[in-house]
Amino acid sequence: MVIYGVSLLAFCLLAGSFVGDLIGQLLGIEANVGGVGIAMLLLLYFTSQTSGRWQLSATSQSGIQFWSAMYIPIVVAMAAKQNVVGAIESGWLALVAGVLAVAVSFALIPLFSRVARRGAQLEGEQ
């Protein structure tokens, strides 16, 4: 049943968000720490159970696949509701700070990716 997949996805997001809020509270901050990431790990855990009664049927999986495929349309809607005027009219300081932060971060990606890959290879050899 399609709803089983959708329902499992819902459970993962709710559980992840709850744990994320909990971690935030433990750290004493008013923010969710990693809720979506925890939800993704939960989903990966449940969907990788290939044996026993936990295994999702193809129809149930399509409930998850539908929302995965809706990701880009949702992101397009997200883009259309951004405060672009606010970003453009926020003045030079905000503009310079934002642009430089992005430029510096972009520039460092190749360096860190190499480190990440090398680490992964070392782990693979062990």
Binding site: L9, C12, L13, G20, I23, G24, I29, E30, A31, V33, G35, V36, G37, A39, M40, L43, L44, T47, Q65, W67, S68, M70, Y71, I72, P73, I74, V75, V76, A77, M78, A79, A80, K81, Q82, N83, V84, V85, G86, I88, S90, L93, A94, L95, V96, A97, G98, V99, A101, V102, V104, S105, F106, L108, I109, P110, F112, A116, G119, A120, E123
Partner: protein, 252 residues
């Protein structure tokens, strides 16, 4: 006409499905026509969404882009954090858990480095623009991390409302720029595998920027980038008003 717009408003979410479908179709047509598919259709769609958000904001004077025009109000729900997070989690289905595990520590490290890096850049720009008090410098630095870390930090430290507004502005610029810029620089920075996507998510951090940027580049990379980006705002809210603030205060 009035009856039609009443239907569009009343069934807002459905209207947004139709609208996004039309935007997407037009974008793929444009992508094929003008760039022969070199610039990906979804990248065009996201850029077009941002353009519509600009006109919506100019027209309505609000801060929710196109969604402030009543017949497009459903866009706010479709593109809101709830459905966005739901879809992001769904993209993890079928992700390569081995890559996630292997690059896990590098991803975690990149989140901390990403927060500190953006913070330092933002703080230096604040100093360059003449701010000299630790609270304002810290708040603007935090805003360069994300537009959530900025106001959270500013409120915690008691920054003025203008400085908090600036920090939100810096975060907005960052998020919009990441959405537009990622597909353009993806090749140059080697953003084509799970490892670099995790580093990218950790260094950029802005959830909406990373979500948009990866969607426009290669949707297969979304789970890896989103996985690390999801920790960024929380870590930022943890570090900026505490350790980073103390460091700034001890320097100025």
């Amino acid at each position: 006409m009035e009856m039609l717009s009443a239907v569009l408003v009343k069934k807002g979410l459905i209207t947004s499905f139709l609208l996004v479908g039309v935007i997407t179709a037009f974008s793929y047509w444009l992508s094929n026509k003008l760039s022969r598919g070199v610039i990906h259709g979804s990248a065009v769609a996201i850029a077009l969404g941002l353009l519509l958000a600009y006109f919506g904001g100019v027209y309505s004077g609000g801060n929710k882009g196109l969604a402030d025009i009543s017949i497009f109000s459903g866009v706010a729900f479709m593109g809101g954090a709830m459905l966005r997070d739901f879809a992001i989690v769904a993209t993890a289905f079928g992700a390569d858990t081995r890559a996630l595990k292997q690059a896990g520590w590098a991803g975690a490290l990149s989140v901390v480095i990403g927060v500190v890096l953006s913070f330092v850049v933002g703080a230096l720009v604040a100093v360059a623009f003449g701010y000299s008090d630790a609270v304002s410098i810290t708040t603007i630095g935090a805003g360069a991390a994300t537009y959530i870390v900025g106001p959270v930090t500013g409120t915690a430290l008691g920054a003025s409302s203008e400085v908090i507004a600036l920090s939100v502005g810096a975060g907005l610029v960052k998020s919009v720029l990441v959405m537009i810029g990622t597909p353009l620089v993806a090749k140059a920075i080697g953003l084509n595998n799970p490892y670099s996507a995790m580093v990218y998510g950790g260094l950029m951090g802005t959830t909406s920027g990373v979500a948009g940027g990866l969607a426009a580049t290669d949707p297969k990379l979304v789970p890896y980038g989103a996985m690390t980006a999801t920790f960024y705002t929380g870590i930022g809210c943890l570090l900026a008003p505490s350790i980073l603030f103390f460091i700034v205060r001890s320097i100025v």
